[in-house]
Symmetry: C4
Subunit: 291 residues, 4 copies
């Protein structure tokens, strides 16, 4: 199906191509062959390097002196990542599934900002998103011990999704009401910083979450009294997510603790979290150990 576009592939037989794809797949997706492991580790290091380069470029003093070197290296790395992305698309069986999977999107977002940067210079810094590719580290080193830790965390958060949505809705309603009232009280005192309702809502969030920058803070007696009430409410509010997460993580820990899993990856859809002894992919039903 790629043949029309890559004519030199025509010379390969269907069988040869399948073998080649399998080989590439083993290297770029799997981490249980020596070459696969080498590839993954080099990739991790290159990702770290490229994120470091973007950071260095953002520091004015360093950028002024080494601009050319930094930008050249960034382009070389981006070029490598682009090839890698194309290889991944080439060798995976179900292409669209990979492209729209979590890692597929991250992989794309890792190279896109650079090309966009040619048109929109600032978008380049979005490339830092490629650091999320490091999440693959857990699979590469087969850190099931940690993956389990991750699963308890993720499961805890997933299970409490309903409660978290309800909680966030309440918080949003509260901050809109508080923000409006504070704007009403403080907007005659421009030195307080309550210059509009959206800004006041921003202040309410900063206060309720106990961050408290201090760039906006009430100056009238009434405003300070209301702010005190908000903070006291914040006491209770900050307790809710903690309670939710504690509860759900407790539940998740009980359920999850002794489920044995491994990181075998499905060749069809790319799902890499299966029970020990699984034969078919739990997500797409494809045979896992296809020869």
């Amino acid at each position: 199906m790629f043949k029309g576009r890559f004519p030199y592939l025509k010379r390969m037989g269907a069988d040869e191509e399948k073998k080649l794809k399998q080989k590439i797949f083993d290297i770029v997706f799997e981490a249980d062959t020596p070459y696969g492991k080498l590839f993954d580790i080099s990739l991790l290091l290159l990702i770290l390097l490229s994120v470091g380069l973007v950071m260095l470029e953002s520091i004015p003093a360093i950028n002024a002196r080494h601009h050319t070197v930094l930008v050249s290296l960034e382009w070389i790395l981006t070029f490598l990542f682009t090839i890698e992305y194309l290889l991944r698309i080439y060798c995976v069986k179900n292409r669209w599934r990979y492209i729209f999977s979590f890692y597929g999107v991250i992989d794309l977002l890792s190279i896109l900002p650079f090309y966009l940067g040619l048109v929109l210079p600032t978008s380049k810094y979005l490339a830092s998103i490629r650091i999320l590719r490091l999440l693959r580290i857990f699979r590469i080193f087969n850190l099931t011990r940690f993956t389990r830790g991750k699963n308890v965390l993720v499961l805890g958060l997933k299970e409490s999704k309903d409660k978290i949505i309800v909680f966030l809705s309440f918080v949003l309603l509260i901050v809109v009401v508080i923000g409006s009232i504070m704007y009403m009280v403080e907007h005659d005192h421009p030195e307080s910083g309550f210059t509009s309702i959206p800004i006041s809502i921003y202040w309410a969030i900063v206060t309720l979450t106990t961050v408290g920058y201090g760039d906006i803070s009430p100056v009238t007696g009434l405003g300070q009294f209301l702010a005190s009430v908000v903070m006291i409410i914040g006491y209770g509010v900050i307790a809710v997510p903690t309670s939710i997460v504690t509860m759900e993580m407790n539940k998740a820990a009980k359920h999850k603790e002794d489920i044995p899993t491994n990181t075998q990856r499905c060749r069809n859809c790319g799902d890499d979290y299966h029970l020990d002894g699984a034969i078919y992919c739990k997500t797409c039903g494809h045979l896992l150990n296809e020869p």
Copy 2:
């Protein structure tokens, strides 16, 4: 009983009026007929729109350019909400109960600030309170799954009311004492901002809740030492509400988890949280499925 005031209603028979009321009730209060659902969804959108308008008006740059449009739209929406409020009062059986119910008060507070705004301009921003009407969203979309989440939260908070009152009393006593001592220590250094005991109490709350704006902060050695003690105390203090809520939510979760409820609304008092199979309203004893 409204007839004296609305003479044109006299022409309707008692039966016809009852039918009309029932029809209006089904539309404005219930969400299980197509018209009722349509009404509720339009209402939600209008509420969001009107809150958005009030916010935009508060931003000086935007208000300067579009003042007339914003204010006109706001008045149109307020007019619509006023009609809706009157309809609600008209069709509900037990009027006073609705008017003093949670949603009744919110509905009134959603339109009042605008009329008050004619006299007292700033009071208009209170209209943001109408965003609380969005709480109806849970009932409209029959999100029992979420309502259950809400119930665990609300029940958790309700059950721990006693402990929370005791806790808040302690906090209030502590901040008064701390505030007074800090005022004594710091009020000779006006740059620290401790200009009066109420301000110092405000500082104590800002510090104990770990918000920490920094607009007021001690400058003397003794003051900073005392502030450190306050913060260390704050460590323990902030732990208490979390513990309370965790404990009570655990209890609530156990009790509540499998109580089946629905959102049938009582035609008499408006209570909309009943057990499955309930025949009489749990709040006013009125028959629920009155034909």
Copy 3:
């Protein structure tokens, strides 16, 4: 035993004096006779009034206009509290025990600062400590429901005393080390505010407790990196007291929940927390219902 000092009491017989003491005791200490309740409620209101007066006096604008009125009222109230204190000493059986009890010390601290204020003007603001006398409110209104809430809180804190001391020791050691390192890193940049090790320790506490005023904050790259590490540590550190209190409150709740108590006060030592049906004081062994 007071007779030598108050000669006019000599005219009373021992019996008459005992009766008088009993009467005064019932009024000033107990709250179950009409007079006792009236006395306690008036006292609460006077305390609130006097704290309010001290606060008002601290506000420069108000003090400038009403200084004489405020000070006169404060002196009248202090005089009344002094009489009350002497009456309490007079009618209680075991005087020293009362004087060194929690409430006895608070009662003394409520009047002392005013007399000290004649010599040392600022000490007067310490009088706000008298707001702690409001703690008696729980006993006066026989709020056993709340007292139980209080007991769970207090017991939870008491039980976890060991762990809290260990935790605080660790925190103190950590902040000294962090403070010294940050001073080393930042003290060449006076605009950062790290002017001495004690100030740096103060900063470490402000940061670890997530208060974060911002009056002192690192400006060098290394300093900001170290501060980030401190904050990440702070994440874990702030979790510890919450965990401790949650654990202990859970335990306390289990043990305490159904122990029936009342607020009968011992005439000898003043302890007012006994089990239902207690006959002897649990603290001093004195008969509780002495006729």
Copy 4:
């Protein structure tokens, strides 16, 4: 084996030396003989004194006046600590094990900065690290009650190591991504303080941990919106370590509660935490009660 270097020791027989070592060991390491206790208490006081001196020296006003006294005292104390360190090395059986043990490293770090201070003046303030030697206090006063409290804390943290590493990895990835996005949004407004990606990451940590100094804070509408999202995420994020620690401390408390331990110290490796009745050291297998 030290004989070559300390020739005057040659005059002692092997037996005499062994006895001397034992004696010194009992004094400097153990705390159950009168001399041992006296030594340890004096040591604690000297450590406190020396840390206090370093702090005082860092305060410019005090240093200006008492520089000579402070520095002289510091050198005397450092000299004493150096002798003590050499004695510890001399009398312990397994030298390297002591030198690289936790306390061994702390003991060295307590004297090293002063000698380094001759070359690199600022390194002297690192000497505050010697306050960590106070951790020995638990062993000296045989505060097993507290040690148990400590063990529950430490065990709780140890057990949750996996989850904490996963959590910290997530936090690091999140702050890099957030920091980069915020830099992109805000770096055209230098007054906001987002001058480079590393600084923006610092801001992200300050915000996620709810510290919120306010030295860097967004000024654009989009930036403030994104910051609000970060804070709301921070709500959930701060809940995770609390949940983890609560969970693990619960477990640890269950397991640990009734394991009887003592503070017998192994003469070979210095480990001082053994079960009651232990005969061999659990770390190096050496006989504990060697005569």
